[in-house]
């Protein structure tokens, strides 16, 4: 059998999608997709191994190479198919493939590839914040199990997760990066309690998770005992390369173009925005967005060309967070009292949504490295300032 060409592969993908993707799912990633239809689609995709297209077929993957996988993604996006991803596919899976034992791969990867088992991430703790490595959750070995006591916070989807990949402290006397272990255990057991966290924007996607004698099998440690920090960092790199995944991550910008919002809310007078102060702010904001996007483009060009001086990519998260927040501030200023609604009559849905989004984005300068941490990093790593 001669090897399939990329064109043939693309043709195959197209006809397969035509056959299997019903019209009611061709609307992009929305939360209100019809459940039956979606369930069938996931099964079909999983049967091809295309939930995790580049994973080996023995673990339920598609066995595709990078180019094929790119074609598959492009075709799926072209018809606005719902994208199936999870903490399992984007973060734990790649980490297990790289650092897990054969048994671990066999045990966990196929279920992830079938999108059957939901995972959550137990990293952050109250009192740790940016200083992740100062975590306090203890795991004590008893026979072939670990007994876990402590508390996690900001755990996305913990209330719906079946398993957790979790950082625990196994050696409290070691330097703080050296006593941490990366371990997997089920959420549905005594000793695990999940308490959803409501945020100031009214959403409840995060939880606190309390461990009070939860149990993990010793053979579910990934990487060496007390060597979990390295595993954790590796996993975070997967997170970055896959753009945060669809669950949680950093929150986005306005749905509608800011300029349109401001123009509509404020109105023009003789072709000029009726409020001259907001007009200057809007211009500054548009220019900031352009400068950010140009700078990120330039960072990419520098990287590809090898023409690298100081790392301008490092500015991205920090400046992006401020830009998104300022954008929302400006939308709020334009709405005036119409931006103060929470519920009830008198407000358009888009106005209510914008107010919530304004609240949601307050987190952008906190999560994924606070502004302060980003500035510290720029000063130290990029500007090489002395410490």
């Amino acid at each position: 059998m001669s090897p399939e060409t990329l064109e043939e592969f693309q043709q195959g993908v197209r006809s397969w999608i035509d056959e299997n993707l019903p019209a009611d799912l061709r609307v992009g990633n929305r939360k209100d997709l019809p459940g039956d239809s979606l369930g069938k689609w996931i099964k079909a995709v999983a049967s091809k191994g295309w939930v995790t297209p580049q994973w080996p077929t023995e673990y339920g993957g598609g066995g595709l190479d990078r180019k094929q996988a790119a074609i598959l993604m492009k075709e799926l996006k072209a018809v606005r198919a719902p994208i199936i991803s999870s903490f399992g596919t984007s973060m734990l899976g790649p980490t297990l493939l790289e650092l897990g034992t054969d048994e671990q791969k066999q045990e966990f990867l196929p279920a992830i590839s079938r999108h059957e088992v939901k995972w959550c991430q137990g990293y952050s703790e109250p009192g740790a914040g940016s200083d992740l490595a100062s975590l306090q959750t203890r795991a004590v070995k008893e026979g072939d199990e670990y007994v876990i006591t402590g508390q996690k916070i900001w755990t996305t989807g913990a209330d719906k997760a079946d398993w957790i990949f979790c950082l625990v402290r196994t050696d409290p006397d070691a330097p703080k990066h050296e006593g941490i272990t990366f371990i997997l255990f089920p959420m549905h057991q005594d000793g695990v309690e999940v308490s959803p966290l409501t945020l100031i924007d009214g959403s409840a996607e995060f939880s606190q998770v309390f461990f009070n004698g939860a149990r993990a099998k010793a053979n579910h440690v990934v990487g060496p005992v007390n060597g979990g920090w390295t595993v954790a960092k590796r996993l975070l790199q997967h997170e970055r390369t896959t753009d945060g995944g669809s669950e949680g991550g950093i929150t986005g910008a306005l749905k509608e173009n800011l300029t349109d919002i401001v123009k509509r809310e404020i109105g023009l007078k003789d072709g000029i925005l009726a409020d001259p102060t907001l007009r200057q702010r809007l211009a500054a904001q548009e220019l900031e967005a352009r400068a950010l996007s140009l700078t990120m483009r330039r960072a990419g060009e520098e990287l590809r060309s090898g023409q690298v001086g100081r790392d301008i990519g490092s500015l991205g998260k920090y400046r992006w967070a401020n830009m998104v927040k300022n954008e929302q501030d400006l939308a709020m200023a334009a709405m005036g009292a119409q931006g103060l609604g929470w519920s009830g009559p008198g407000f358009e849905d888009t106005q209510l949504e914008r107010t919530r989004a304004w609240l949601t984005t307050r987190a952008d300068s906190i999560w994924g490295g606070t502004n302060e941490v980003q500035m510290n990093v720029i000063a130290k790593r990029v500007l090489k300032m002395p410490e």
Partner: protein
């Protein structure tokens, strides 16, 4: 008058502080919000404050008031603001009550103000018709028919309008939208035929109503001041309410600052207290400076009213411009410095953040008030 509290005011502050700490911790405001309380505040607590004489501070003794000044009221409002008490000072005392005080005939004052001072009567002011603050931008019309007027139009953002007994309503009796002349103020009973009041919940857990008037009849004796010239009363009312709101904001952002400072001074990261980082220290010093400047300018604005100075409008706009800016600064920094925990609804700092945003915009934001200040200063 001085810029520091008088001895009597210090005593009043201690009383108010104890009162709110005991009867109105922030938790109370949260419960009112979460239980979707039908009033949105405590009528019982409001009456208690009436008994203490706080609701009548501004009003003459003849109608049951205490005949004191904005210096005294400011002290109470700041303490209320410190613990986010949602009782209707702004709507009933500063807006509705002031409109009756400054524009009402003696019979109207005698009819309405005594109950207001005891806490038994609630009065709102319905003037706003669009999101951006523009008090003369009025399309609601009132047409004279014999001895009465017929009001027709829609108002938004009527603070506590869902529970008020009277709605003091701004309508146009002459001129065109945006004109300062041609406005009139009417005392409209909330149960008048043709009125529809819809409650909306606000960002900060407080309430404002959308009110529609469909040919609502009001007797000509219920006009405040001269027909067509209500803007003079409206301006005076808004100036006074603005100064009162600024005093409340002062209490709120002072408390938010204190809590943030406490957090910086106790929270540890990388083995040290985060309050030891110079970057955060300098930002704390800046917040402190802004806060204290706001306090000075609010006190001066209170004095301007209490002394009957001729720069009340300048001072009021100056105070609100500053307080709106400081609210935004301290609110934002409070969340940022609290980090992730500040994003949770459970942590009270977020309640301050939301209230500060709402107050920043209520009665005009910093841009509006700097603009007005510039006009008053002749440039």
């Amino acid at each position: 008058m001085g810029l520091i509290l008088t001895e009597d005011q210090v005593i009043l502050r201690e009383m108010a502080k104890s009162f709110f700490e005991e009867k109105s911790p922030v938790e109370r405001m949260r419960k009112l919000r979460d239980s979707r309380d039908e009033t949105g505040f405590s009528r019982a607590l409001w009456k208690e404050m009436g008994e203490l004489g706080w609701l009548g501070i501004l009003f003459p003794e003849a109608v049951g008031g205490a005949e004191m000044g904005y210096g005294e009221l400011g002290v109470v409002l700041s303490e209320a603001g410190r613990l986010l008490a949602p009782e209707p000072f702004i709507s009933t005392v500063l807006l509705g009550g002031n409109a009756i005080l400054l524009g009402g005939t003696e019979p109207l004052q005698k009819e309405l103000l005594p109950d207001l001072c005891t806490g038994d009567r609630l009065v709102s002011l319905a003037f706003q018709e669009q999101g951006r603050f523009a008090p003369y931008s009025v399309q609601t019309s009132a047409i004279r028919e014999g001895d009465s007027y017929r009001i027709r139009g829609n108002k938004i953002f009527v603070l506590d309008g869902h529970v008020s007994n009277q709605i003091v309503t701004l309508a146009r009796t002459a001129g065109s939208t945006d004109q300062r002349e041609g406005l009139s103020l009417f005392v409209v009973d909330a149960d008048s035929p043709g009125i529809t009041i819809e409650r909306a919940e606000m960002l900060d857990g407080r309430n404002a109503a959308s009110i529609s008037f469909e040919d609502v009849a009001v007797d000509a004796s219920r006009v405040l001041g001269e027909p067509d010239h209500a803007a003079d009363i409206l301006d005076a009312v808004l100036d006074r309410a603005t100064v009162g709101l600024s005093a409340e904001m002062l209490g709120s952002f002072e408390e938010a600052f204190e809590r943030t400072l406490e957090y910086l001074n106790t929270r540890e990261q990388f083995g040290v207290k985060i309050g030891t980082f110079q970057g955060l220290r300098h930002r704390a010093a800046d917040m402190f400076g802004e806060l204290e400047f706001a306090r000075s300018i609010v006190r001066d604005a209170q004095n301007a009213i209490d002394e009957g100075r001729d720069d009340i409008a300048e001072c009021a706009s100056g105070a609100k411009a500053r307080c709106s800016d400081v609210a935004q600064l301290i609110g934002g920094e409070a969340i940022q410095m609290h980090g992730g925990i500040g994003m949770t609804d459970e942590e009270e700092i977020g309640l301050f953040f939301k209230r500060l945003k709402a107050a920043e915009i209520t009665l005009g934001d910093a841009i509006y008030h700097r603009d007005r200040f510039a006009s008053l200063r002749g440039y």
